[in-house]
Symmetry: C2
Subunit: 294 residues, 2 copies
């Protein structure tokens, strides 16, 4: 732990959070409870299903129901059944609710502007750039990596996206059913997913074969978090796990069109090796020594 850096983060949290955060709540503060305002805000102009609101705001079902009744009572919201499923209910803003939403929207704008207004144009640019940077990097640091069975919903989401992307990028197209996948579970292998806020944003797998190097497969990162180092983290984690499982070396194959991946492998210390399999889609083969990695 690095004292100096931690102090900057703590100072940042303290000042920025207190100040911006206080303002950020205050833009919702009207003559009604904060929870009601937040809910109204979250329903939005397009309306929203009650279940979605519940997860987004992380509220107790009963509490949320009561809040909706209160907004209904104030004439700001109507809750009606959705088309398909009669159990699912959808909250929509009334005309008055819509007006209220627009008012909050305007106040939010004003608040944001109040932070920019006193600055010179150059300072505004710098502030905007720094805010984007902080946000991107905090997003990166919220990505967690852990194992997951390859049959899991998150894994399947990743694999579907991965295969779709290969199919789109390979000149020859690509055709493989993800259910053909041999079981990537211990002891034959393992499967990692990278998760951001419950959303799966990346994956990677290892396959072990007795007497041979461990093989890295299915390394993929969602476009939404590309450039945040998630691929490198996945790769590193796969290497560590391969080493922990007793492998001296890991190897992998890749298609020539996946240039970022190839660059990643090279910069992570992989060296090109001769063809070791008959994969018709592979153009390059790489390996790296991982023995002793912790």
């Amino acid at each position: 732990m690095d004292r100096q850096r931690v102090d900057v983060v703590r100072h940042f949290s303290r000042t920025v959070t207190q100040r911006v955060g206080a303002l950020d709540d205050s833009f919702l503060a009207r003559d009604r409870p904060l929870a009601q305002s937040r809910l109204l805000w979250e329903i939005g102009l397009a309306g929203a299903e009650v279940a979605v609101l519940r997860t987004r705001l992380d509220l107790d079902a009963g509490y949320l129901s009561r809040l909706l009744r209160a907004l209904e009572g104030a004439g700001l919201v109507t809750v009606g059944s959705a088309d398909g499923d009669g159990r699912v209910r959808t909250a929509r803003l009334t005309e008055a609710g819509r007006a209220e939403w627009h008012l909050l929207d305007r106040r939010s704008d004003e608040l944001a502007w109040s932070m920019l207004a006193p600055l010179s144009d150059g300072q505004r640019d710098r502030l905007i750039a720094a805010m984007s940077e902080v946000q991107r990097l905090l997003m990166a640091s919220l990505v967690t990596i852990d194992t997951c069975p390859p049959g899991d919903a998150r894994a399947r989401t990743c694999l579907r996206a991965y295969l779709g992307e290969l199919n789109e990028r390979f000149e020859t197209g690509f055709d493989l059913d993800i259910d053909d996948e041999p079981d990537l579970v211990p002891p034959a292998g393992l499967f990692l997913v990278a998760t951001l806020n419950t959303e799966a944003v990346g994956c990677g797998a290892l396959r072990f074969s007795a007497g041979e190097p461990a093989e890295i497969k299915r390394l993929w990162v969602s476009r939404s978090v590309r450039g945040l180092g998630v691929g490198r983290r996945l790769l590193g984690e796969l290497e560590r796990r391969a080493a922990a499982a007793g492998a001296d070396t890991v190897r992998l194959d890749t298609n020539g069109s996946l240039t970022e991946a190839i660059q990643l492998y090279r910069s992570a210390g992989y060296h090109e090796i001769p063809r070791y399999n008959t994969n018709p889609y592979a153009h390059h083969w790489f390996a790296k020594r991982v023995a002793g990695l912790s």
Copy 2:
């Protein structure tokens, strides 16, 4: 108002504030109410006067008193009379309270570190730099500028600091009583202070003389906010007010040792003019046309 920039700020507030803010409160969450933890944290190892706590946390006097009783009951805090004023009371942490504070401090460290840990070293550097930048610029945007009578406490703080600094920087020293100051109040002149969070961090004055250009005096910015554009804002505001009062031109004199100030004047469009007064401390004289400034 600039749509694109405002959107970045709003997005920043939303994501960063929600996430960092939520964490920031969570580090205080123990088995006691949040308000108590916050109070204990704010009292700190050095102790704090009750009135100071009240303003810092912005709490109702009665509520604060009750919170202190609760912490006292838990054996974490003692509240005793201060030395001088028998009405003023000072809260101090007991041994147990101190231990609790250290625990919170450690948790805050861990939380800060949890944002850095998943990142690469280069990313950490970039995040730290961006956080500092956001904080500095938000601080800059919190500085407000308004008129204030020169006899006011804030004005006198500024003038004292200003004169102290001149005395320190001029080769010949500087000697002037701030009470010698002719009244810088309308219609003869005016006095501006820049304020950050109730702290005076800069000042500037105008003096009007019939038939002559308005004169800028006492432009000063506290070291704590130097480099944030406060001087330039003060100068601009003085020019606008001079123009509003009917002046065509403003002028000023300055000592050769005040190099940043001279640079500021030049870059703000001032041009050097011949000596127009007999100020023994002045080496340079500047003027700028302000007619038509809004």
